[in-house]
């Protein structure tokens, strides 16, 4: 792996559950939703690291912790070797956000509908005090729009978000993240709201920007197929833990963890000849509540290979089974 730009160590985020008056008087202990429960990973320069999982697995919370929209309960985050876990004051956060930006899932709700494209892109410049005169800022805005292929920019700066198509809106959101020339971008489901025909366009653009501007991405998604296409590395999350991690293609072609297998088996593929076959899904039950995490391996109640006395008792460790390919399961190679 190349020199890590971002390093996350034993990161945890627990959200307290509100207690009623009665239960606090009874002295019942405070309970927590363990959204992110001790994850460790590194992202190398100009690489794309995908976090994959079902809703509620903690992937978006991880993204928010990294851009400092949330403060971690425990653990550390390093950016280019510097510990940024306790970045808190306004100045520190501002300096940090010049380097780390985020793209949200829904470009319609992440933009102020009463702002024109110009204002949307000018806002980060004003916040960070970049460009002294309006003319300077205008130049930067035009450059950013050209970069995301919204051309000619003068036709678009006056438009409101509702006057753009879905793909254009998401490209403006990308331009807003890029205008500060960040080193790291958290892309939280950036294409899942887009039509297939333009999804590829946005992914291609993000790929191109990676090469041209040296951006590094954390790509948060539920879609294994786009992760294979876009990402170099992949981590599969389940109930706040990384259960498998490795090169994206390797994880998909040779999954080690039973959960990854189940996820992969569930992905629909455009192969109509299989339409009358009822697919085997090697998983049972539903995702348990993150406030009530099962003991032992947290996947064991749903795992069809789980062994009594082992999986329901002992928490497995994340072990490197192949070069750079990790899994957190007692039974790798034994099921």
């Amino acid at each position: 792996m190349a020199e890590p730009v971002l390093k996350v160590e034993n990161l945890k985020k627990y959200f307290p559950i509100k207690r009623g008056l009665v239960s606090s008087l009874k002295g019942e202990p405070q309970r927590f939703v363990r959204a992110v429960d001790g994850i460790t990973f590194e992202v190398g320069k100009q690489e794309v690291f995908a976090l994959v999982g079902e809703s509620g697995c903690g992937k978006s919370t991880t993204g928010k912790l990294i851009v400092k929209l949330l403060q971690p309960t425990e653990g550390s985050i390093y950016l280019e070797g510097n510990d940024v876990t306790n970045v808190r004051t306004r100045e520190e956060v501002l300096a940090y956000r010049r380097k780390v930006q985020i793209i949200f899932q829904d470009p319609f709700s992440s933009m102020n509908p009463r702002f024109r494209v110009f204002d949307i892109l000018e806002e980060p410049l004003l916040i960070h005090g970049i460009g002294e005169t309006r003319a300077e800022r205008e130049e930067l805005i035009y450059k950013a729009l050209e970069m995301v292929k919204i051309t000619p920019p003068e036709d678009y700066v006056g438009r409101f978000p509702h006057m753009l198509s879905g793909g254009q809106r998401q490209r403006v959101a990308i331009a807003r993240a890029l205008i500060l020339d960040p080193t790291f971008i958290v892309a939280d489901e950036p294409v899942s709201m887009l039509d297939v025909s333009i999804r590829a366009e946005v992914l291609e653009l993000m790929k191109e920007l990676k090469e041209k501007m040296g951006v590094t991405y954390l790509y948060i998604t539920h879609d294994m197929s786009t992760a294979r296409y876009f990402a170099d590395w992949m981590a599969v999350m389940y109930l706040g833990r990384i259960v498998e991690m490795g090169p994206a293609k390797r994880v998909i072609d040779n999954p080690l963890h039973p959960y990854t297998r189940a996820l992969l088996a569930a992905v629909p593929e455009p192969k109509p000849e299989r339409r009358n076959i009822i697919k085997e899904l090697p998983i049972r039950g539903e995702v348990p509540n993150a406030a009530n995490i099962p003991p032992g391996c947290r996947f064991h109640p749903r795992c069809i290979f789980a062994q009594k006395g082992l999986c329901d008792v002992e928490h497995p460790k994340l072990v490197e089974y192949e070069h750079n390919h990790w899994a957190e399961c007692h039974l790798v190679g034994k099921y």
């Binding site: 039509d195 593929e269 455009p270």
Partner: protein, 319 residues
């Protein structure tokens, strides 16, 4: 050869808005055979959901059926008065599985209460008999029967979607329309629901129109596939033909835009531009402004559906 349960001919449904007439469904013809699943795909705004609601006899206002015919099991339903539609057609002859199971159930009533409503009011069944029947159908979709006494908030997303499916089947309709039935669900739950629909298709011989924007999901269940673009049908045929020998450039491009799970793709294709405004659709072929092969004739005349192969039709001047 099995008979047609649904015949749609020259169907036109326009929205009469302040800004102008939106031609959301424009001159569509197709048939659905008994026991067959017809997949209907297209980008958002192509009119696929509008078509679903129109077939149910309830185009969303200000939409109106302008022309054409819809025959369900041989009976013409266009032009039937609303009370006849409600009493005799909707839910009994044709039913719908809605998009977004989360919002399709009423949170203040138990599952059973809302499921038996059509049985009690349309069929005049006793409440207890109706509840028995609801339980039978819940078991059919893989849920415990006592779910009838639960409230929607007690169920997970996948369970709610199963309730919606059971409700749509309760009156044993001839045709079921499934409008994006898996969109808001996680991958594993989505695969379970698709499996369920395959099972129902096999066991009950369901005739279904499956609407989605996701061609991968469509391939999992459809016997035939229809591709819509800007209110028109551009291609229709057996699934194998559509996926492996697509004739229309739009279908070809859509398929090339799908990332594959087990294959490496150097570059994904995409379709530049965006679907046209349906108030003022482009003259000629509606796809011509985005089509890489557009010729002069494409800009002037609307192509008709032509038979490319046996039971495989496409509307394109290149053919």
């Amino acid at each position: 050869m099995s008979k047609n349960v649904l015949e749609v001919k020259n169907l036109k449904m326009y929205y009469f808005t302040n800004k102008g007439v939106v031609k959301a469904v424009d001159d569509l013809s197709f048939t659905l055979k008994k026991g067959e699943v017809l997949g209907l795909a297209g980008e958002s705004g192509c009119g696929k959901s509008s078509l679903g609601f129109t077939l149910m006899g309830m185009p969303t206002p200000p939409g109106k059926i302008v022309d054409g015919s819809i025959k369900i099991d041989g009976r013409e339903v266009v032009g039937l008065p609303e009370d006849v539609l409600r009493k005799e057609v909707r839910w009994q002859k044709i039913s719908m599985i809605f998009q977004g199971a989360m919002n399709a159930l009423n949170p203040v009533y138990t599952v059973g209460y809302q499921m038996i409503e059509p049985l009690v009011y349309l069929k005049g069944m006793e409440r207890d008999d109706a509840l028995d029947r609801a339980q039978k159908y819940l078991e059919l979709v893989g849920l415990p029967g006592d779910i009838v006494y639960r409230y929607p908030h007690e169920l997970s997303g996948g369970m709610k979607q199963r309730v919606i499916i059971a409700t749509a089947l309760l009156l044993e309709p001839d045709v079921v329309i499934a409008d994006e039935p898996t969109t808001a669900l996680d991958v594993v739950v989505q695969a379970q629901i698709i499996n369920l629909m395959k099972k129902l298709k096999k066991e009950l011989g369901l005739s279904m129109i499956f609407i989605t924007h996701d061609l991968s999901i469509l391939a999992e269940i459809s016997d035939r596939v229809a591709i819509m673009y800007a209110g028109k049908l551009v291609e229709i045929g057996d699934s194998e033909k559509i996926y492996y020998e697509p004739a229309h450039p739009y279908t070809q491009k859509l398929l090339a835009a799908i990332p594959r799970l087990h294959e490496d793709v150097e570059r994904l294709e995409f379709i530049p531009g965006q679907p046209p405004n349906l108030i003022n659709p482009p003259k000629g072929c509606r796809f011509h402004p985005r089509c890489p092969y557009a010729m002069q004739v494409c800009k002037e005349q609307i192509p008709e559906l032509k038979e490319v192969d046996k039971d495989h039709y496409a509307a394109c001047w290149l053919l």
